[in-house]
Symmetry: none
Subunit: 197 residues, 4 copies
DNA sequence: GATGAATGAGTTTTCATTCAT
DNA sequence: GATGAATGAAAACTCATTCAT
C-alpha cells in the first residue's frame, strides 16, 4: 500500500508545516518551541520528528514555503508572453502579494520577513531566498527589456539595473505593509506612474 | 569603583551594545546567548545585567540602535532646504546606507533586517521601527512635493504615494544588497533614472 | 514511556515530594536547591519540572503535605463520637504527632515549622495552614463542649477559648520537642492533669 | 575619640539590624537580599559589610534580637519574687508578647517564627533559641513550684512538666495570633481559667 | 509505527561579596 | 573610611531530542 502511505505522509507533512507556520506567524521562528508545534499540529513529538529530523529542518521548510510563495507568480501574471508595462507588472505582483497575505491560515509574508533575517546566518535559507528572488527579479528585467524593445524605456540602460529597481519595490511594499500598514498595490502603482510621467 | 561618571556608564552601555551587536551580526539575536555577549564585551554577567535587566531589553537596545541609524540622514543629505530630485535623494540615501554598512564593527544593516522580523512580534521594536521609518518616508514625500512644486513631477498625484514608492527602494536595496550582493547606489540611481526618462 | 497510568504519575509526584521533603528536613526550604531535589529524587531536571512548574510550587506541595499530616487525626483519635477528656484528647494527639515525627523518611514536623514561617509571606501556604489548623482546633472546641455538657468543664466559658488553649499546646509541644528535646506526650499530659486537679 | 566612634558604630549597627528586620518581617530571611537591606538601611554595601561579615551573620543578629525579646519579661512581670498564679503569669506574658508585636517597626514575632524554622538547621540560632526559651520556661516552672508550695497546685507532680505545659501556651498563642488572628491574652486566660476550675 | 515521559545540556538570571577609587 | 560597580559562582528553569513501551 505505498500510494496511500505516500499521500498520508504528505498530508501529515503539510499538517506539521501548517501548524509550524501558524506558530511562526504569531511568535517568530525562535520563540516557537517544538512543543508549540507539536501541540498546534495535534500530533505527538515522535510523529513530528518522524517528518523533520530537527527544528532547523522544520524552520527551513517553513521558510522555504514562505519564500516559494512567489513561484505562483511565474505561472500567472508574469508568464513571459504577456506584454506588461513596469507599472502593470508591479501592480499585478503586489496584488498577488496582498492576496497571499490575506489567505486564511495567517499572513505568510510575516514568515518571509523572518526568512530574510534567518538568511543572514543560515545558508540553506539564504540559498533558497537567493534562488527565488533572482528568478523573480529576472522577470522584472524581462519587463524592462520589453520596454526597451518597444521604445517605452531608455534602451541605453542596463536592463538589469532597471530590474533591480522594480524588484526592490516588492520587499519595500511588503515591509511598509507589515510595519506601517498604510500602503496598497493601488497607491504604489499610482505613485510609480506619477514618477514615470 | 564608586562615583562613576555618567560618561563612564554610557561608555559601558555602548561597550555592551557594541559587543551584542557584533554577536547579532554574526549569529542573529536568538542564537546569540548572554554568555556570548558577556564574553565578547569582556565584562561579567553581573555587569551586563547591571545595564540591561534582561536579554529582551538588550535585544531591544540593539534593534533600536540599528533602526536609529537612519537618524543621521536627517541631519545630512535630507536636510529639508536642499532641492533634491528623487534620483539624487535616493542615491544619497543609498550611499549613506552603504557607508553605514561598511563601517568597522560589522554591517549594522544585517541587524536592521533582524529588527524588521522582530518587530512582527515585539511591540517595542515595532514602535521604534514605525517611528523611524515614518519620519524617513516623510522626507521622500517632501522630495515629491518639491518636484510637484517645480513641475518635474505630476502635481495631481498624492505625494504620499510617491513617497511610499521612493521609500520602498531603500529596504528593497538593502535586501538585495544583503541577499544577492549585486546592487549598488549607482546601479539603483541609473535604473531609476532610466524609468523616469 | 508513553501511556503512563495515573498511578505512575502519582508515584513520580510523591517520589519528588519525598525527595524534596528529605532535603527540606535537612537544610530547610531555602537552602535546598532544585539541583538537590533532582539529585535526591534520582530524576532529571526536566522530569521534576514536568511535575512542578517552579520551586515555589514544589515548596508549597511539601508544606501542604507537612500541614496535612494532621488530617489523619480526624479519622483517628479525634473522631467525634468518642467522649474524650481534654487530657486524653491532648495526649492522643501528641502521641500521634510523635509517631508521625518518628516515621522513617525524616521528621516532618520540622517541615511544618518551616511552613509556619513560610506562611508569613506566602498566601497559598498561609491558606492551607489556616484551613488545617482551624479544623483541628475545632476538634478541641468540641472536646470542651462535651466537657461542658457532662459537667466536667465550666459551662459559662466560651468553648472557643478553651479550644484555643488546648490547641495551643500542640505547637507548643512541637516547638519544645524540636528545640529543647525534653518533652513527651506523657510529660505534657501529666503537667496538664496537675493543673486541672 | 573612641567613645563617639563606638556610639556611632552602635548606631550604625542598629540601623542595619532595624532595616534587615523590616525586610525579614515583610519577606522572610531568605527572600530578603543584601541589596534589600542595603537599600532599606540607606547605607552602602561596603558599610553594611563593615558591620556584618556575611548575610548569615546578619540573619543571626536579627534572629537573636527577635528571640531576645523575651529578656524584658524577666526584668518585668516574671521577676521571681512576685507571687503569680499560672493564669496571671500567662496573661501577663501574652500581653507583653502582644505589646511587643504591636510596636512600631513591624511585628517582631514574625521574625521569631522564622527563627524557629532557621534553628532547625542553624546551630547558632538554635543555641540562642534554646538558651532563651529554657530560661523563660524556668520562670513557669517557678510559678508551678510556688503554686505547689501554697497548695494551689498538686505537689506530687514534677513542676518541670507543669512548666512545659504553661510555656507551651506562649508559642501556641503566637502561632494562632499570626496564622488565625483570632486569639487574645484575654481569651487565653479565660480559656485556661475555665480548665483549671 | 506511534507515543509522550524523560533526559540533560544549555540558557538566563540572581545575588553575596569584594576591592579599586 | 566609605562607596557602589563589578564579579562570577551558583541558582532556577527551558526545550530540542530520544527511546522504552
Amino acid at each position: 500500500m505505498p500510494k496511500v502511505t505516500v499521500e498520508h505522509r504528505a498530508a501529515r507533512h503539510d499538517q506539521i508545516v501548517a501548524a509550524a507556520r501558524r506558530c511562526a506567524i504569531e511568535q517568530g521562528f525562535h520563540k516557537t518551541t517544538m512543543a508549540d508545534v507539536i501541540r498546534e499540529s495535534g500530533l505527538s513529538a515522535g510523529a513530528v520528528y518522524g517528518y523533520f529530523k530537527s527544528k532547523d529542518e522544520l524552520v527551513a521548510a517553513i521558510a522555504d514555503q514562505a519564500l516559494s510563495t512567489v513561484d505562483k507568480l511565474f505561472e500567472g501574471i508574469l508568464a513571459t508572453d504577456q506584454p506588461l508595462t513596469p507599472v502593470a507588472a508591479l501592480e499585478a505582483t503586489l496584488e498577488h502579494v496582498v492576496q497571499i497575505a490575506e489567505q486564511p491560515g495567517g499572513d505568510v509574508t510575516r514568515v518571509a520577513l523572518q526568512a530574510w533575517a534567518e538568511a543572514m546566518h543560515n545558508d540553506a535559507i539564504a540559498g533558497i531566498a537567493r534562488e527565488k528572488y533572482t528568478l523573480l527579479r529576472r522577470k522584472f528585467v524581462a519587463v524592462a527589456e520589453r520596454g526597451q524593445a518597444d521604445g517605452t524605456i531608455d534602451a541605453d540602460t542596463d536592463p538589469e539595473y532597471i530590474g533591480q529597481v522594480l524588484f526592490a519595490l516588492i520587499p519595500g511594499f511588503l515591509l511598509q505593509r507589515l510595519l506601517l500598514g498604510d500602503v496598497s498595490p493601488r497607491s504604489f502603482s499610482i505613485g510609480l506612474s506619477a514618477l514615470l510621467k
